[in-house]
């Protein structure tokens, strides 16, 4: 994951200039400084929320995310120069209040792809049909995961966060990130094998 907050300059004293942590600390006495945090990260947080809950809810929750972040800024750990994982964590907590919306969205995804595949196209290659056919059951499988496991899985697979960043975002140890991800992947693989028993999955070190 790359963000502008990581592309900061250092002054002659080695102090980070314009890093998120610095801006957040400055915003304790000068609240408007927090505006730069919004401008840097809001598009990404909004997209994350839209991916998980749809555009309409995302538009509302992106404001809630940054309002919550602003109100909690005094407790921000200034050792983290990049605030985006922290913001992902706050957004993920808010998604937790919309679990039903998310599961409904994933089920709709399944219905949509069932309709898509049943329509069929003669020129579609077999592999594409197979991948397409997997999307619906896979969406259902993800919807059926325990919420903490789904959060870890999607932060890594969809948002490309590292394990350390997920740990920061969700305020959990890195070991817990690994175990949640492994559990989520086992369940997803089981669904995929049901669809195609010939599938094999290379073991990826997590």
């Amino acid at each position: 994951m790359q963000s502008p907050s990581q592309q900061v300059a250092r002054d002659v004293g080695g102090r980070l200039v314009g890093a998120d942590a610095e801006l957040i600390m400055a915003s304790l006495t000068e609240p408007a400084r927090f505006g730069a945090i919004f401008d840097r990260h809001a598009p990404y947080i909004q997209r994350y929320l839209a991916r998980r809950l749809g555009q309409q809810i995302a538009d509302d929750l992106v404001a809630e995310t940054f309002l919550a972040a602003f109100r909690r800024r005094a407790s921000y750990d200034a050792r983290h120069t990049d605030a985006r994982p922290w913001l992902y964590g706050i957004a993920t907590n808010l998604i937790g209040q919309h679990r039903r919306d998310e599961v409904r969205r994933l089920r709709l995804n399944q219905v949509a792809h069932q309709a898509d595949t049943s329509a069929g196209h003669a020129d579609r290659v077999a592999e594409q049909v197979t991948a397409q056919a997997m999307r619906g059951p896979l969406a259902t499988a993800i919807g059926g995961l325990a919420a903490p496991d789904r959060d870890v899985l999607l932060l890594i697979a969809w948002e490309q966060l590292t394990y350390d960043e997920v740990a920061t975002a969700l305020a959990i140890p890195v070991g817990t990130v690994r175990s949640r991800l492994n559990r989520a992947r086992r369940k997803v693989r089981a669904v995929l094998r049901e669809l195609d028993p010939t599938l094999t999955f290379p073991e990826v070190l997590t």
């Binding site: 919004f38 598009p43 997209r47 991916r51 995302a58 992106v62 404001a63 940054f66 109100r71 997803v188």
Partner: protein, 297 residues
């Protein structure tokens, strides 16, 4: 097959949204900034009569008064709100490079109508001879040295002198935080920003600061943050191309103008009648520091 890749491909195709789509969220957040900063009283008082406004230059760079009772403006309904524009301006100002002028240098300003611009070279310490140039020619701005300055008759120094107070075009002691700036301004006469007269006076002081002095980025930022607290400001987008106007609600038709190109940057003021623009004082170039009167940046 890589299961993680399959899951990644399931990701809904959502675009990164632009500034416009985030306006509603931004407005809510910036309103929270105000609430966090507001010390608990709804009204606050500023002072007029800013000492740093150079008297000689002020005569040349007069701001059109905006009398009259408060009334709703004719501008279109817009999504952006005034607090947002001012907060962005406060933020964007901080991205500008700050310079510390030497006492023997000059603050260069260029403003007015693009067809008939006025240029000013104003002494940083007020002790050096400055210059105002427009379509009619050059007018000297004599420096004040040892309490005396040349008397200008017409556009020529007369050879006689008169008592004076230096009018520096740069004050290194301007506060860089909104509260400090308000305190600084309160050293003059007190005005009430909930009255048309109060807003009008402060608007002229602010324009004077920008037109006749070098205002460092940190001071600009504090100034815009302070202005954002004034109740009743509104946005007018029916402004010259590339600008947005912040309307002083109590002055009826006076506006601060901000460039909307590459962020929000203060570029002047204007007065609007029911029939349109009746006067603009636009900064036609960024305020700059030069070594000699007459030298272009």
């Amino acid at each position: 097959m890589d299961d993680m890749q399959v899951i990644t491909e399931l990701r809904p195709d959502e675009p990164l949204v632009g500034d416009h789509d985030l306006n509603a969220a931004r407005t809510r957040l910036f309103a929270e900034f105000d609430a966090a900063r507001r010390p608990g009283k709804r009204r606050f008082v500023l002072a007029a009569g800013v000492a740093v406004v150079a008297a000689a230059a002020a005569a040349a760079f007069v701001v059109i008064p905006t009398p009259g009772p408060a009334k709703p403006g004719p501008g279109p309904k817009v999504v952006l709100d005034a607090a947002y524009v001012l907060h962005r301006a406060a933020q964007d100002a901080l991205s500008e490079p700050a310079v510390t002028p030497r006492p023997d240098q000059f603050v260069y300003v260029k403003l007015g109508n693009p067809r008939f611009p006025q240029q000013g070279w104003l002494s940083v310490d007020g002790a050096h001879d400055g210059l105002i140039r427009d379509h009619a020619g050059d007018t000297p701005v004599p420096g004040c040295r040892n309490g005396r300055q040349q008397v200008v008759i017409g556009d020529r120094p007369s050879g006689r002198t008169q008592p004076c107070q230096p009018q520096p075009a740069y004050d290194p002691n301007l506060p860089t935080d909104p509260n400090g700036l308000i305190s600084y301004l309160e050293k003059g006469r007190t005005v009430d920003l909930t009255t048309p007269e109060g807003v009008n006076a402060v608007a002229k002081d602010i324009d004077g600061l920008f037109y006749t002095t070098y205002v460092p980025p940190s001071v600009q930022s504090a100034l815009f943050t302070a202005i954002a607290r004034i109740p009743g400001l509104s946005v007018d987008r029916a402004t010259p191309a590339g600008t947005i106007g912040i309307r002083w609600s109590f002055s009826g038709t006076g506006e601060m103008l901000f460039s909307t190109v590459n962020g929000y940057h203060y570029v002047g003021d204007r007065t609007v009648s029911q029939h349109g623009d009746v006067g603009s004082d636009m900064l036609l170039a960024p305020v700059a520091i030069v070594d000699r009167a007459g030298e272009l940046p």
